[in-house]
């Protein structure tokens, strides 16, 4: 069975470590915050200028001056700090964020990522995504393995305009956990009930499968 959005988030959350500063992109990455393992403290960075993002507010707590990068109303966690956009991206570009999780349209064997633009269709802009992928060393891309029409999103070469070049090392899809090394995809784990053959079939770029591939363990 392919992983649900929540299950993808759940698996990503297993990569969190105590004391991590983490930037979560819009969509599935945002859900990771719901699955932070017990006994671990992480601090969420929101690139509009908040380190220590808390839960959504109750109706009474809503404050128009306090939003996240998705423009949603939020609260501040204990120990939060506020800063301007230049400072926020100094943190990001300077490599101070421990883990970045973001979505994508395509990833390829050279670690290229396309996530912000479909020419002729969707032109909304890259927001902070280009800075995030250029600045972070530890990035996990979350996306579905293939389109609804069965077209692979794990390619030998990205076809869409790039968000970043050679910057992605880990991809978690609804079918597999994949590492990118030396110009190839490497299969690390598969979703429960999904066969290696299924994954190979839906991976257009070269995929290395070494030994027995374990199933993901989800809580």
């Amino acid at each position: 069975m392919a992983l649900s959005r929540d299950q993808i988030a759940q698996r990503v959350a297993q990569e969190l470590q105590d004391g991590y500063y983490v930037n979560l992109g819009i969509g599935i990455p945002t859900l990771v915050a719901n699955f932070v393992p017990k006994g671990i403290d992480v601090m969420l960075q929101s690139e509009n200028g908040l380190l220590g993002m808390g839960a959504f507010p109750t109706e009474e707590m809503v404050d128009a001056d306090l939003i996240n990068a998705g423009k949603q109303t939020v609260t501040m966690a204990t120990g939060a700090s506020i800063f301007d956009s230049a400072e926020s991206f100094a943190m990001i570009r300077g490599g101070h964020v421990d883990l970045t999780v973001l979505g994508a349209f395509e990833v390829d064997v050279n670690g290229n990522i396309a996530s912000y633009m479909i020419p002729g269709k969707l032109i909304k802009g890259m927001g902070g995504a280009m800075d995030l992928v250029a600045g972070a060393d530890n990035i996990i891309v979350t996306m579905t393995h293939a389109s609804k029409h069965g077209e692979s999103k794990l390619l030998s070469n990205c076809t869409l305009p790039l968000t970043g070049r050679g910057c992605i090392k880990k991809v978690l899809t609804d079918l597999a956990f994949i590492e990118i090394k030396a110009g190839k995809f490497h299969l690390l784990e598969r979703a429960p009930g999904v066969s290696v053959e299924d994954i190979i079939k839906l991976t257009e770029g070269e995929l290395v499968v070494e030994g027995d591939i374990p199933e993901m363990e989800l809580g």
Binding site: V62, D65, Q72, D84, A86, M117, K124, G127, A134
Partner: protein
């Protein structure tokens, strides 16, 4: 009398000197921390051919989106746009020129512009459409592109509190691009919720020193919320 008193008493006065084809830097992220009344004044004035530098372009009936129906904006430099239908129409038809710029690069362009740095190298955008036509150089084995900084004829800024000398304090994430915009305008106009006397703000708590501010006006704000997201009470 103090030559440092930046307070003006009308929006007309606040935006006087703005003429067609000027460049305006605007603070704000989405609709948070936008100089909403200064934008309305630009709409009222009917200034055209403007280049706007702002992270976003508002929504159809609020924020910088208000300047679209009368075709006041000729070009926008932003990181994320298209939350409104009229914007998309003008962009697709070529009436509006859009220069998409990564958010961190945009912030740094304003910061550098205000700090007298004409350009800087960044890894952001290397190998992407953003790098087209820009100088590339390696430092310590890594590729970087040269990005030029930005200044404006005007900067329009929203702060929370100020003293009459233009020392500014921002509130929560309404700070965002406002401090950088404030430094990079030839004429920086700031609207605030409250103006106090000099000496009433703790100097240690001032986010933007008054040296960057030319005009200051007090007003009230709608503060529209784009994505009101809540959890149930008692959770």
């Amino acid at each position: 009398m103090s030559g440092f008193d930046k307070v003006v008493h009308s929006y007309e006065e606040a935006m006087s000197g703005l003429t067609d084809n000027m460049t305006i830097l605007a603070g704000g992220f989405g609709l948070c921390g936008i100089p909403e009344n200064l934008i309305s004044e630009i709409k009222r004035k009917g200034t055209r051919g403007l280049t706007l530098v702002s992270n976003n372009c508002g929504v159809d009936d609020f924020g910088l989106g208000l300047l679209l129906p009368d075709r006041q904006i000729q070009k926008i430099i932003a990181s994320y746009v298209g939350e409104n239908a009229e914007f998309e129409r003008q962009m697709m038809s070529g009436e509006l020129s859009v220069e998409l710029t990564p958010q961190g690069t945009l912030a740094e362009k304003m910061r550098a512009g205000g700090a007298g740095i004409p350009a800087f190298y960044t890894a952001t955008g290397v190998g992407t459409p953003v790098a087209e036509g820009k100088d590339e150089r390696q430092f310590n084995g890594r590729d970087y592109i040269l990005e030029e900084s930005i200044t404006g004829d005007f900067a329009i800024v929203k702060a929370w509190k100020a003293d009459r000398y233009g020392n500014l304090v921002f509130r929560k994430t309404a700070r965002n691009f406002n401090p950088m915009a404030a430094t990079a305008g030839k004429i920086t106009v700031v609207e605030v919720e409250e103006i106090v006397e000099p000496g009433q703000l703790d100097p240690d708590e001032i986010h933007t020193p008054g040296i960057y501010v030319n005009r200051l006006i007090q007003s009230t704000f709608e503060k529209r919320i784009e994505q009101r997201t809540t959890r149930p009470s008692g959770e």
